[in-house]
Amino acid sequence: MHAPREQTYLSATVDIRSWLLTTDHKRIALLYFAGITFFFFIGGIAATLIRFELITPGPTLGSPDFYNRLFTMHGIIMVWFFLIPSIPTTMGNFILPMMIGARDLAFPRLNLASWYLYMSGGLITIAALLLGGLDTGWTFYEPYSTFYATGYVILAVFGIFVAGFSSILTGLNFIVTVHKLRAPGMTWYRLPVFVWSTYATSIILVLATPVLAMTLLMLLAERVLHVGIFSPQLGGDPILFQHMFWFYSHPAVYIMILPSMGVISEVVPVFSSKPLFGYYFVVWCSIAIAAIGFLVWGHHMFVAGQSLYASLAFSFLSYLVAVPSAIKVFNWIATMHEGWIRFDAPMLYAFGFIGLFTIGGLTGLMLAALAVDVHVTDTYFVVAHFHYIMVGGAVMGFFAGLHYWWPKISGRLYPDYWARFAAILAFFGFNLTFFPQFILGYLGMPRRYQSYPPEFQIWHVLSSAGASILAVGYALPIFYFAWSILRGPRASANPWGATGLEWTTRSPPPPENFAKTPTVVRPPYQYDRGKPCMQAGDVR
């Protein structure tokens, strides 16, 4: 049934050298996928240990120092080595060129170089953690991280510095590809929203990450050479470090959430068999999030000692940045209106995303109110808020995209029953883990505390129970995806009845993606009465 003569990008060449020196965007996507899964696993172990530690008010697993190194490891690995690269480097690398009808990214060798930068940065940071870790928190606040911290700060910061260049080069590659390599007929308003979201993410990757590189460089200079840039002993200002760190780190949270929004904008129309509602709104909201995302970083520093004028300005701007997200949520729901909704696994993850991301976004609006922030900043309310956005939003989006494009990437189908069960389990496990933390936050339980007052224990026990359910929810896909690769049924070119260009070629696609470069005649997501109308030159 699978003509032996037809080659796929997997069967073209099989030796190790062809994988490690490949310039095929599809293979580089799989290389990244291996790296991402490895780091997600390590960050997940740290998270589980943290939750075990917090079951009892006193020290449970080890000394306070051990706990401090645990949450620092969890933060660094999850932020820089899983969340930021997750969707752009795996699904972005694999699907984006196919969505715009290109044969590869603009700079294939630069794409491979980005992967090597990512892996070397990752291994340097893992070396720092294995040697003994560091206890500065992923925010490296001055002057603790430069003069008082004892761990392997220099090695870990250098690892992140190297991995940062992988982000910059990937963003650069995507921007130039979307501008110059679109198939004939693929105008900007015929681009699928996932391309627009990855394009907006790349704008942030390119424009924010260099500031992180310089900030980490100054931190290294201060710690290695014992000179004082931010150090108060010489009269320097530690708050300047916070300004420069958050100038990158707030846009970084939009790097994490925008690709997931793109995935959801792809999944919802397909499983509602209905065009995306308000395509122009959703497109320009993605760009607006990327732009306004740069104006709001000061809401991390309301109590840090910045001037009142700045706090007022940042508080107001933080409300503006929520408007595009609200419009997108409304458009996804309006897409389901009068649709033919099928509850496959990707759609269940999409439901989870929309619900949890809305909770995360609205608690963000509550945090942006200055007086409330004074009470709840640096408490578990903030921890719950950003986990609702990152785990409830970005990771749910990652799994939605994974389950949606898995047939195209591997050419195999996966057991639908298990996938749906994993989605529902992850949803309930997640809520049981992080909703009690909102209550803990308003009670005043500070962040990064190993031992806490005994009266908070009930909420921590609930949260830890939820964490174990969430861990099972995330472990299930490993099993049924492995089964799918070995014995899953072959996938057709278009198993979900979708309308993107990537569904017009074989799964898994040939090395050059398309037999001949397709010409595009219609905007994306074209359905009439529930039946997809295909792009030109479709292949059954």
């Binding site: 309301f302 409300y319 200055l370 005043g444």
Partner: protein
């Protein structure tokens, strides 16, 4: 504490204002989340694949509804944010005649010094119903003085004074935490705030023993560090006389004018060349590293004490 707390104790009028603001934000957010979840479940059920619901597209374009709904939610939130900003601004300009307590944050303990000279570690006794103004400094890294029951928190950045004020109304014992990560025992750097009615507070002050007042100890330090050698009339070097200076404007050598508050006095002791008073040469040596934070607080208290007496009994 009830069996298991789901709402923090409310110990001041300010705290109840925050409760009210937080609950109203919660209600608005809850309504929006409710609308989203309801629509998700309703559409999922009504328009599921097999159902024969009416899909004729009779409801015309709904973007008008979308724009109005988004703008309405935004306006409500911005209104609440404005209210939050108003409370925030009130938090940051303390009343003039509050009881002033110096707090020094050090790696993994809080030290409080009352005007009467009483000192406490990881604890703070304050009278109920009276404004209390905390002048806080850190000796090493960034800490954060956080009292959940009063809903206030302020990062203490080393190298400068941070001020915070509150008026605790309800008598009782409340948690004190350090909210900014500061190293190994970050979790143990806390204790209890005890709010007592004024009579008990006065007894407590007496019970602490008759140390000299902070200002008196400051006067001794003023002599021991040799400040009196220049800043007293008839001193060897021409230096500004500090009597009656605190709280008032100080013209600087570069023509600008600065109010002599705690920050200016502290900066002038540690970094005298930064803001030289008009008409004087920058000859004062720096005391950086020689005067500890505790002594600094005493010196500042003394200079405040010899400030203009009209600025209210401190």
């Amino acid at each position: 504490m009830p069996a298991f707390p789901w709402w923090p104790p409310t110990a001041s009028a300010y705290a109840s204002q925050i409760n009210f603001l937080f609950v109203s934000l919660l209600v608005i957010a809850g309504l929006t989340i409710g609308l989203v979840f309801y629509l998700l479940l309703f559409f999922a059920n009504k328009y599921r694949h097999g159902s024969n619901a009416d899909r004729s597209g009779t409801t015309k374009k709904t973007w008008r509804f979308e724009v109005s709904w988004t703008v309405a939610t935004l306006l409500i939130f911005v209104g609440l944010a404005g209210w939050g900003a108003d409370i925030y601004l009130k938090l940051y300009n303390p009343p003039a005649d509050a009881l002033q307590i110096f707090i020094v944050g050090k790696q993994w303990m809080w030290k409080a010094q009352h005007p009467g000279g009483q000192r406490e570690i990881n604890a703070l006794h304050v009278p109920a119903g009276q404004d209390v103004r905390l002048v806080m400094a850190s000796q090493d890294v960034i800490h954060s003085f956080f009292i959940p029951a009063l809903r206030i928190k302020q990062d203490v950045v080393p190298g400068r004074y941070e001020t915070m004020w509150f008026r605790a109304d309800k008598v009782g014992r409340y948690h004190l935490f350090c909210a900014e990560y500061c190293g190994t025992d970050h979790a143990h750097m806390g204790g209890w705030i005890t709010v007592m009615n004024p009579r008990e507070y006065a007894d407590w002050l007496q019970a602490q023993g008759g140390q000299q007042t902070l200002a008196a100890q400051g006067e001794q330090l003023f002599r021991r560090y040799g400040c009196s050698g220049c800043h007293e009339p008839g001193g060897t070097v021409r230096a500004p006389n500090l009597h009656g200076v605190f709280g008032g404007p100080v013209p600087l050598s570069d023509g600008s004018v600065v109010i002599a508050d705690e920050r200016y006095v502290r900066d002038s002791i540690l970094d005298p060349k930064a803001q030289v008073a008009a008409g004087y040469a920058p000859v004062m040596p720096t005391f950086e590293g020689q005067v500890s934070e505790d002594d600094l607080a005493k010196l500042v208290a003394y200079i405040e004490f010899i400030g203009p007496t009209t600025s209210g009994g401190r």
